[in-house]
Amino acid sequence: MYALVDAVSFYASAEKVFDPSIRNKPVVVLTNNDGCICAVCPIARRLGIPKFKPYFQIKSFLERHNVVVRSSNYELYANLSERMMNVISRYCDDQYVYSIDESFLEFKHYDNLIDDWHKYGHEIRRAIWKETRLPVGVGFGTTPTLAKAANHAAKKLSGFNGVAVINDNIAALPILKRMSVTDVWGIGNRLGKKLNLLGIDTAAQLAQQSARNMKRQFSVVVERTVNELNGIACLSWDEVKAPKQEIFSTCSFGQRITDYNLLMFALVTHGSIVGKKLRHQHSLVKRLLIFASSSPHDSLHGNQYYKKSIVYEFPLATDSSSKIASAISIVLKEIFQHGIYFYRCGVGAISLESQRYQQPDLFAPSQPSPLIMNCFDKINQRYGQGTMTLASEGKDEKWQMRRNFLSPQYTSSWRDIPKINC
C-alpha cells in the first residue's frame, strides 16, 4: 500500500499557523515578486478566487472581500514543511518527500499491522494538525498514482473527510469516475486535450484503455499511468533525489534598467544565487548561460525586442560565487547596449559537474579555497540572507524580490517570535 500526504493549500495554511487573527479569514499568497496568486486557502476558494491569476488584475476584488494578501514567506514554509515531514515519518518507515508539502509513504509488510487504513489516515491527519496546525489530506492507494488519486478525492471530492482509501479496483472506480483525466498524476493539460479528442474525459475512462495502445499512441509514461490506475505499481522513487541538471536564477524588473552597473548588479545577484545552489548540491558549473533582454511587450519605448545570451565556459568547473561574478563582468560588455530598456535578465548553470569527481588541472591558475565560500554561506545562514554579499551585487534593491506583504519570520528570527498576551 502507498500513501500520499499533502497539505491543503500549504502556503496559505502556513500563514495561519502563527497568526490566529487570520485563521477564519480568506487568505491568498503571492509568488516571487508578488506577481501572481500561488495559494488560495479554502475560505478564499469559496469566494471563487482562481490560482495563478496576476495580482494586479484581481487586486480590487480582493480588497472588496477583505482578503488577506501575503507574500511568500519561504523561511517560514521551510520550517513548517520540515516539521510536517518529521511528523509524517513517524507513521511509516519508508518516506519519500516529493515536494515542500507532499510526502509519499510506502507500506511494505504492513498488512497484518494495519487493518483499517481509514482510521490510520485520520490518525496521521490529527497528529499533523495537533502538532503543526497544518491541515492535510491523506490518500491511500495500491500504486503511487492511485494514492495520488485518493489524495485528490480526500481533499477535493465531497463525501471524503480528508482521507480516502483505494485498496482495490472496486474502491478505485467511483473515485476515478469523478476525476477529470487532467487530475491524474502525470497527465498535463496538453496531453489531456489529446486524450479528450479520443473521448477520454475521466480518469476511469483512461484506466479502461489498453496500456499497450497508449504506449503506441503517446508514450511509455501514459502506458505506466494506465497500469498504475489498474493497480499495477510501475513507479518507484529513487532512494536519493538526483541533483539538478541545471540551475537557473532569473527575474524581470519592476522598472526597466538602462544602466550598465545596475544590470551588472542584478546579474551578479543571480550569479550568487546560482553559486549558492551549486554548493548546496555539491555541483560545479562548467558552462554558464548569461542573458538579458528587453520586454517583447515594450512598444512604449519604441524599441525593438532585444535579447542576447552568452554561454561562458569556465576553464575549470567552479562553485565559487566570485568566479561566477567575474565571468559575468567579462561577458556583460557584449550583452549590454546603450538605449535598451532591459526588462529581464538571468544566469543559468547549464552544464554541471560533480564536486566529487573533479579532475584537477596541473597548469590551471590556483582556484579560490572552498573554505571561503563555505564561510560565506555559513554567515548568511546564521545571520540571515544578504548579511554578506559580493560587492558587485550592489546595494540598490531595485531588482530584488518584491515581498511587500511578508509576514514575520516567526520561526527563524528572535525578533519575530509570536507574541502571547498574558
Binding site: 502563527f18 490566529p20 502538532e131 503543526t132 528572535w414 517570535i417 507574541k419 498576551n421 498574558c422
Partner: protein, 137 residues
C-alpha cells in the same frame, strides 16, 4: 648545486588529556527544554497577568502542542484571534489569570477558541539580549 631547504621539526607532542576518553557532547539547552521539537514553538509573553506563576512580561515561553491540557495547566490558546497564555479550567470553561488584577474569563460559545499548546517552560532574560526586543504593552 641546488639546495632544497627542509626545516627540521621537533616532534612536540605534549600529553594526552587524561579525560579524553570521558569527553561527551556539551550540554544542550534545546535538549533539556524541548521534548517534542516538531510540535514546539517559542513565543514571548506580553503582559503581567501571569506573574503569580512566574511568567513576566518579555519572558520566553516554550509551547508544546503535542501534549493534552489538564485542568490547571498553563496553556496558550487562540482566543478571538489572539494568542493568550492563561491557566485553563476545562470543567467551567474558564481562562484564569495568575494575578488578582485580572478576573477570570468565561469562554462563551460565540467566542473563537482553540487550545494551541501547553507552556512547559518559561525563560527570563535577566539581562537584555541584543536579539530580542522587550514587549511593550
Amino acid at each position: 648545486m641546488k639546495v632544497i631547504p627542509i626545516f627540521a621539526e621537533a616532534g612536540i607532542s605534549g600529553f594526552e588529556s587524561p579525560a579524553a576518553e570521558y569527553k561527551e557532547l556539551g550540554l544542550s539547552l534545546d535538549q533539556l527544554l524541548i521534548r517534542h521539537p516538531n510540535a514546539t514553538f517559542i513565543g514571548q509573553a506580553n503582559g503581567d497577568s501571569m506573574e503569580g506563576v512566574g511568567i513576566f512580561n518579555g519572558d520566553l515561553l516554550i509551547v508544546d502542542r503535542s501534549l493534552t491540557a489538564k485542568n490547571g495547566d498553563i496553556i496558550v490558546a487562540n482566543y478571538n484571534g489572539c494568542f493568550v497564555c492563561k491557566l485553563i479550567d476545562k470543567t467551567q470553561a474558564l481562562l484564569l489569570s495568575a494575578s488578582s488584577k485580572h478576573p477570570p474569563v468565561h469562554i462563551k460559545p460565540e467566542d473563537e477558541f482553540q487550545l494551541e499548546g501547553i507552556v512547559t517552560r518559561s525563560i527570563r532574560l535577566h539581562q537584555k539580549s541584543p536579539e530580542i526586543t522587550l514587549c511593550t504593552h
